[in-house]
């Protein structure tokens, strides 16, 4: 193509979004150092204090500091979303890549399975699974992985089909590499960028879904300071708006930052996306 290489838009979104996400990650890890006390410390005499210079985000029904709980909350919300996306991404990548590479009935079975899971109302299936397993961070993660992997599998399969017949794969066959060796060294590396792009775009949705499960009482349970569970705890407290507002704001800011970062990473990594201004 005779296209002149376009000047890329400066990746403001990537930088800003990445910085916010990185900040949240650092806060989550360093929460015990930043916070003056633990997230469960109660001061019943100071319950329902509105935001002030003493209690920046106010206090909840048990006099716990909302700011401290929001700082700690990122640990659970972010850990859940990241692990779900990583596990589902890896599982989906291998399932899709293998089914695309080997083809035949394996491929057929795998693709019908993805269609089935995707036709299913995800949150209802996840709900049923969590209820059956019992609520908890790990079980919620497991339920989400079960409904989360199909898009990765389908993307991986598509990319493998596109790569499989390329000359360099043919060359690898010609010089006598085994099928597994070709899969590992020629096929797998070529599909990883696509997986990373999908995963970064997907993280925001994983955070919202995970927090939503906790909101329904199916994920992290009280008194653990998970953001979704905290919003749920503040749900009935209409006069004490700060109890629900700040943890929700944390979710919102993280997701919006992740979306900007995800778009930026796609623009940077995916050569097929032409940035139009």
């Amino acid at each position: 193509m005779g296209d002149r290489p376009r000047r890329r838009r400066r990746p403001f979104g990537l930088v800003l979004g990445g910085a916010v996400v990185g900040l949240w990650g650092a806060v989550a890890i360093a929460a015990p150092l930043l916070a003056p006390h633990g997230p469960d410390e109660q001061h019943l005499e100071a319950a329902f204090q509105p935001p002030s210079s003493r209690h920046l985000f106010g206090t909840d029904d048990l006099g716990r500091e909302v700011l401290v709980r929001v700082l700690y909350g990122g640990r659970y919300t972010l850990a859940l979303a990241f692990s779900v996306v990583i596990v589902a991404g890896v599982v989906g990548m291998f399932a899709g890549a293998l089914s695309g590479y080997f083809g035949g009935w394996v491929d057929e079975a795998a693709m019908r399975t993805t269609e089935l899971v995707m036709a299913f109302p995800a949150i209802i299936l996840a709900m049923a699974i969590v209820v059956a397993l019992g609520p908890g961070l790990v079980n919620a993660g497991l339920a989400m992985v079960l409904v989360w992997w199909p898009p990765y599998a389908r993307l991986a399969r598509g990319e493998v089909l596109a790569v499989r017949s390329l000359e360099y794969v043919e060359a690898a066959t010609a010089i006598g590499h085994t099928r597994w060796g070709i899969f590992r060294r020629a096929i797998l590396p070529s599909i990883v960028p696509g997986m990373v792009i999908l995963a970064t775009i997907d993280l925001g949705a994983a955070i919202v879904t995970g927090a939503g499960l906790s909101f329904l009482g199916l994920g992290v349970t009280p008194p653990t300071p998970e953001w979704g569970a905290m919003v749920s705890a503040g749900r009935e407290l209409l006069a004490q708006w700060w109890v629900a507002t700040f943890p929700g704001l944390a979710i919102f800011l993280t997701v919006i930052a992740l979306n900007f970062a995800g778009d930026g990473i796609r623009d940077a990594l995916d050569p097929r996306v032409r940035v139009r201004v």
Binding site: L116, V117, A128, V208
Partner: protein
């Protein structure tokens, strides 16, 4: 066209059967104790009670047989009996589905209206400020957690400002219009009760805003992109060259073609709204299918959960069919064999 429709429905059947299979497996293979959940600690001490319960719900049969029985009943239009309420699942769904359909439809219309207007404005004016507002709104709409947004609206618009009624479908004390469709807006009009119509509509504003906000972002993005593409085409330039005013070209010539991709996203959105209302319905005490699904799942009421999953699956199939039919109306070049 008729044959095409029949084929599409036949192709969808295996997926629907698969959905019942998956729900069945999930509810029967996972290590949950239905007996304990339904009867409580005390009753599980009595073997006779447990045996009677297991027999009543067919749990003493091999799993394959249980599924075949369920499936056989399904073919007769029997979705089973809810374990939690002892009423037919079909009856319960008939009560909750209209509430969800009503809310989802109003939300979809709001999202399409606002999204198309914003998208056209952003593409048509090529004004940086309008574009930035449209982009900002869509970024927010995609990122905002619905459950949090819903709570914020309830606590500010209802509680603090008093501009909206409290959660629920009607003001407490009012009786719902005599059911025809189960959708209060439609029924109120059919029964000639404008007062009930107004009340139901006021109760719908906040939940509809929450649900529509998620969609507005998508619709705006798609409309804007598609509009920019169409505006660049020759026939639009010709129309301009004939001397037509800019906005009449945009609204009469360009918009029609630009709307085709919007129909697709609208269909997807509608189907998502039907199944994705669990959180919104919980917050706004909306007695729809989402709340029903949640309470059924929470009590391990598997016939009810399977019923909801099946209905949602059927809705997906129907909405996708509608979308394909709409294509024919909008774009005469599309023909189905």
């Amino acid at each position: 066209m008729g044959r095409y429709l029949v084929r599409r429905v036949l192709v969808a059947l295996p997926t629907l059967v698969g959905i019942t299979g998956v729900t069945f497996l999930v509810s029967h293979l996972l290590p949950s104790d239905l007996v304990l959940t339904s009867l409580g600690d005390r009753a599980t001490q009595s073997p006779a009670l447990v045996a009677a319960f297991r027999h009543r719900w067919g749990l003493d049969q091999p799993m394959m047989i249980q599924y075949l029985i369920y499936f056989g009943n399904l073919l007769h239009g029997d979705l089973g009996t809810s374990i939690a309420t002892n009423r037919p699942v079909l009856t319960e769904l008939a009560l909750s589905l209209p509430a969800t359909v009503e809310l989802a439809t109003v939300s979809l219309l709001a999202a399409l209206g606002a999204g198309i207007a914003l998208g056209v404005l952003a593409a048509g004016t090529r004004n940086a400020a309008v574009d930035a507002v449209a982009r900002g709104l869509s970024a927010i709409g995609v990122a905002i957690p619905t459950f949090w947004f819903g709570i914020l609206l309830v606590s500010t618009v209802y509680f603090r400002l008093g501009w909206a009624p409290p959660p629920g479908r009607l003001t407490v004390g009012l009786t719902a219009p005599e059911p025809v469709t189960g959708m209060f807006l439609v029924d109120a009009l059919l029964r000639g009760r404008p007062d009930l119509f107004a009340d139901a509509l006021r109760h719908m504003v906040l939940p509809a805003i929450v649900l529509a906000t998620v969609g507005v972002g998508f619709v705006t993005r798609i409309t804007r992109a598609s509009m920019l593409e169409v505006i660049a085409q020759d026939y639009v330039r010709t129309a301009r060259a004939k001397g037509l005013a800019r906005w009449s070209v945009v609204s009469r010539h360009a918009l029609r073609n630009a709307l085709i991709p919007v129909i697709t996203i609208g269909g997807t959105l509608y189907a998502q709204l039907m199944s994705g209302t669990v959180l919104t319905e919980t917050i706004f005490s909306w007695p729809g299918m989402g709340r029903y699904a949640f309470s059924s799942a929470a009590s391990l009421d598997f016939p009810a959960v399977m019923g909801v999953a099946l209905v949602v699956g059927v809705i997906y199939v129907i909405v996708n069919l509608w979308v394909d039919m709409l294509y024919v109306l909008v774009n005469p070049r599309v023909r189905y064999q």
